[in-house]
Amino acid sequence: MMALLLAAGLALVALLPGWFGGFPPGRLLGLAASHAGLALAGVVPAALLGLALGVLVTRPSGRALRPAADALAAAAQAVPPVVAVALAVPAFGFGWGPTILALLLYGIMPVLRATVAALEAVPPEARLAALALGYTPAGALREVELPLAWPLVLDGLRVALVLAVATAAVGALAGAATLGTPIVLGLQNQNQLLVLQGAAATAALAFAAEGLLLALAGYGAGRGRRSSASPASSDGTAQSRKP
């Protein structure tokens, strides 16, 4: 898979300078592990919330909540993660807390948007047929709507995951040990090598996360077309979301 190959290449770029006076590879790997944990801690609840909200606002009983949910998700995304982290520090103190909050706010929108769009793209006649044949509303959701919506929902999850991995670097500003730490160090000491290492390692982790998610979803099998198209877009996202 392209994403995993790219991840390996970028990891080399991040690790190699360690033997020539850069950031030590051992510490970089440790930071990568904590970075990944932090990203997951933010993106998993965001994905669950986004999915649940997306399902809720597309049900006949929850349709009235749709504008409110849209506005909330848009507002959450409009706050730059740096600001979210800075504002959350007084409430949560330094470290993981404010970063997880920022990641959570940031991750809801792509998942919510994708879930709503995917459920709305389910052919209305398939939904009607499910009810007419005797599925309960929950059964129709589980057996017909979600399976048909899944590819688009997965796209949303992918975007949220890549965003979270890229954005978790901001956590370094709040004192969380992430791959943002060498970047912050490099900027403070005007050491471009450290910045390069941190950025490359973050990008490598983002690609690796994407590759693993797609592999996990069984997406890779027979769908090379999609996975070869995705690194370009995730690269763009990763770059634009860096602090």
Partner: protein, 304 residues
């Protein structure tokens, strides 16, 4: 089998059906016809609670549907729709097996049933593992019909089932439906905007206009001279006299006295319209029908 008692349906401010009374007896193929917006589809969806009445009662098998669990009620009533509504992510076999699976049949029983149904609707068993996207319109419609019949419901609801297929396929599917109806004796409610289809298939035709039933009866009666004007115009296709003759078997006008020896013969099962055509072709005003004869005056007398 199915009864509507003073049923009205309102969507927001508009009234889709107003005070409909209708009985459909067991084993009848009842066609609901009318222009779009006349409420025919709404009337049909009351039966399996896809639409709820704002007033009145709907009785199915003698029981008010309002007191029944919608999912369980719907599993007991077959449903066919114009756009087929096949689940695009499931194979033909899985689509057909939907209701049996909901009813908790074991997988070997479902597999046997699916094979039987593919045979009933005359589909190649090799199609069973295909996805609906790989089917032609006519094949998909047959799968939709098989899916509706899967749990052997005694009632079948069909919402313009043949509206989206080409004329030749439509003719085949109609013949299929007639055969299945004759073979199983199911009660069928068929919504159609095609008057010809209604007259050809149904034993009871209900004409709707602006949410009200304007005519209800046997096909030939609704194109007779004394039928309500709207029904006669809608169903008559501009030639209600000929339509009516095409719905009546030639036997009804048969004269017991034998025809002249040189009279052209009419085959068994011919309609009065066939007789009239034969007379026009041959220029004769008397035909031989079985042991008796058929005279032009007798044919014309039936066209009114």
């Amino acid at each position: 089998m199915i009864a509507f008692e003073n049923v009205s349906v309102s969507f927001d401010a508009t009234e889709a059906l107003s005070c409909v009374n209708l009985q459909v007896a067991e084993g009848v193929l009842c066609a609901l016809v009318g222009p779009s917006g006349s409420g025919k589809s709404t009337l049909m969806k009351l039966v399996n609670r896809l639409v709820e009445p704002s007033a009145g009662r709907v009785l199915v098998r003698g029981a008010d549907v309002a007191g029944q669990d919608p999912a369980r009620l719907r599993r007991s009533i077959g449903y066919v729709m114009q756009s087929t509504g096949l689940f695009p992510h499931r194979t033909v076999a899985a689509n057909i097996g939907t209701v049996p699976r909901l009813l908790g049949w074991d997988s070997s029983r479902i597999a046997t049933r699916v094979a039987d149904l593919l045979e009933l609707v005359q589909l190649d068993p090799d199609l069973a593992q295909r996805l609906p996207g790989a089917l032609s319109g006519g094949q998909a419609q047959r799968v939709g019909l098989a899916r509706a019949l899967a749990a052997d419901p005694d009632i079948l609801l069909m919402d313009e089932p043949f509206g989206a297929v080409d004329p030749i396929t439509r003719r085949d599917l109609r013949a299929e439906l007639r055969r299945i109806h004759a073979g199983t004796g199911k009660t069928i409610l068929l919504v159609t905007h095609d008057p010809e289809e209604a007259l050809e298939l149904a034993s009871q035709v209900v004409v709707l206009r602006d949410g009200a039933v304007v005519a209800d009866g046997a096909p030939a009666a609704l194109v007779a001279e004394d039928a309500p004007e709207f029904a006669r115009t809608l169903l008559g296709g501009g030639q209600p006299g000929l339509r009516r003759l095409s719905l009546l078997p030639a036997e009804v006008a048969r004269d017991a006295c034998p025809a002249p020896a040189d009279a052209p013969a009419l085959p068994e099962g011919a309609t009065l319209a066939d007789a009239l055509s034969r007379m026009a072709e041959t220029g004769r005003d008397v035909l031989a029908l079985g042991k008796g004869s058929l005279r032009l005056e007798a044919v014309l007398a039936r066209g009114r």
